[in-house]
Symmetry: C2
């Protein structure tokens, strides 16, 4: 058995994989694979509608929100957001707490005027900015945050500070649906599916209706959120298989007990790994300050790069994969998304204790 | 058994579906699904590199070309092409032979200056323009064509006329890899995978190096072909599963005998269905003029919409699905992409003869 700590694409629920495999050659008696099915078929339209409804139910959202299934990953959203919501003469604000927020901020600069409201770059992206530094200008077109920084392992708490009255936009790629949160505070939330939601190849966007109406109309049609909203994500051929899998993962989350159950499960897993760090007397050093620790990506270093190499090699021997830190920062990163089992987290914590004993 | 004539997503080779199913829970001994695997893993990098090499081998292309795996479908290419290759002050030219070319042309108008070099709209997109009307201005930034119009069932011959010396860009979504063609005539070819190449969710772009170098540098990074070329389509998370399937389909094409074998197989299938039209003494009327008939999408009408409804209903009874014409034009459309078997085409032709006998 493999313990999969990949940062994304990442572990999926075994029940979902089994279901996909079982219905792959003949989707529910249609005589063909879901992979061969028209996106205009009633079967796919049912999947598409169900996935939107499931997601809104999990988030407790009503008709004032739409769910869109788009392509291109969070990186495409980095460009589409300023293109759609930053009017000529307007300024958008960004709070940057890690590498992904930095990328979003840089891409927005290629589109229009942006202002860096707050950044924790100076401290190496270990914590969160002071709340008093986070209030955007009242005229800002929007404020963009990253709820969880996958590379640094820094996460905002579910109950965010009140940032002010401008539309709040969040990249939630690596902690979406990992816990309950006040979704109605957001004008737009987006997430690449490949961490908590499904396979790579679809980006889920949850958008408030009024933001759609306010979006720019002079863009290429395919780059407008309004196009996706108006056509129920079926303006052109969607990534059928990826949306189908998101639909199954959403069902799995609901069957597990919804976001509250995910939060409990995720807190339990992260606690095991952070405890192994904290009990190691400095053998392992966590990257994030404790108050900003991510429950999704646990990042830490060992005493030397050589020891980290040894750690990764022995972990792999023990069936634990995906533990190398992002190539831009090195170190170790354990990604503990929804589908990672508590048993995997326990196995890692146990391995860490044992490794520290042997090399400490 | 189902005969799948879906226009896209469409039939896939049964051997490929079987292989995907078999290796779904444990990709080649890795202990995890391909769906759970990092795009930075050596396994995925091998798939990514193999797919590029396979495609170039099938097309007989060398180092002067790159293959990119992108997202967003052909519709995203409609916008990205003028964004990247239409400089300020430049004019791009379009030849429009059906609904998809029309969409490409309209989207380009939202980006910059475009000129309609030729169009067959006036004759209802039944044929091809006169070759003498197709030479672009020598200063045009590029000339865009659609090699096969999926909705109207109109296809350029594989040996295209020489259009002139400007970079030739083609939407080949619905006939890519269906036959040998002089690929080096094109500066850029693109295709949504969901017809001849794999599942929905990846767009294959084949681009000549010099065009990459000439592309605009003031765009969002994610919208630049140069970004995908420089990073081997791994700038951000690619649609891993879709590329994996393209890789398997490319292998299947090669195993069948490559593009020459596809051309032979496709010509044989289309001949069966066109013969049923031509032998029907007007009971079926083909949309395209014979010289422009598509080997991929055979479009025809019956004597009345009611009779077409009856045809579709009885065809479905007989296990033939996906035969309704595009919702914008109605009628009947049989899509006969690479993976559609000769047996399916024969079954359709036989059904058409029988139906004509009973209702003619």
């Amino acid at each position: 058995m493999i313990h999969n700590f990949n940062p994304g694409p990442a572990a999926l629920p075994p029940e979902v994989i089994a279901r996909v495999q079982a219905e792959l050659p003949d989707y529910r008696g249609t005589g063909m694979s879901i992979l061969e099915m028209s996106h205009r078929s009633k079967e796919y339209e049912a999947i598409n509608a169900a996935a939107e409804a499931q997601l809104k139910a999990l988030l407790g959202l009503g008709d004032e929100y739409r769910v869109l299934f788009m392509q291109g990953g969070a990186s495409m959203q980095f460009a589409l957001i300023p293109l759609n919501f930053l009017p000529a003469g307007g300024v958008a604000e960004y709070i940057v707490t890690g590498s992904w927020g930095e990328k979003a901020y840089e891409e927005a600069q290629r589109v229009g005027s942006v202002h860096l409201r707050a950044s924790t770059a100076a401290d190496g992206y270990r914590g969160l900015p002071n709340v008093e530094d986070c209030t955007p200008d009242a005229n800002a077109a929007y404020l963009h945050i990253t709820t969880n920084e996958t590379i640094q392992g820094v996460q905002w708490p579910a109950e965010l500070p009140l940032f002010g009255d401008v539309p709040l936009i969040a990249d939630m790629s690596s902690d979406f649906l990992s816990r309950p949160f006040p979704a109605t505070r957001f004008a737009l939330m987006y997430a690449g599916a490949q961490k908590n939601l499904g396979p790579a190849g679809v980006t889920v966007v949850v958008i408030r209706q009024d933001l759609i109406e306010r979006s720019r109309k002079d863009l290429p049609v395919i780059m407008r959120y309004a196009t996706f909203a108006k056509n129920n994500s079926l303006y052109n051929t969607p990534p059928v298989f990826a949306v189908y899998m998101v639909h199954l993962v959403l069902e799995w989350i609901k069957d597990q007990g919804g976001l509250a159950a995910m939060a409990e499960r995720n807190a339990r897993k992260a606690a095991l790994v952070y405890a192994a760090i904290d009990a190691s007397e400095g053998f392992y050093s966590g990257h994030a300050v404790p108050s900003a620790r991510s429950l999704m990506n646990v990042t830490f270093r060992l005493l030397s790069p050589d020891l980290e190499k040894q750690f990764l090699a022995e972990a792999k021997e023990a069936g634990m994969v995906g533990l190398a830190g992002h190539r831009s920062v090195g170190g170790i990163r354990a990604s503990l998304y929804n589908a990672v089992s508590p048993e995997s987290a326990a196995a890692l914590a146990h391995f860490m204790q044992d490794f520290a004993k042997r090399y400490g």
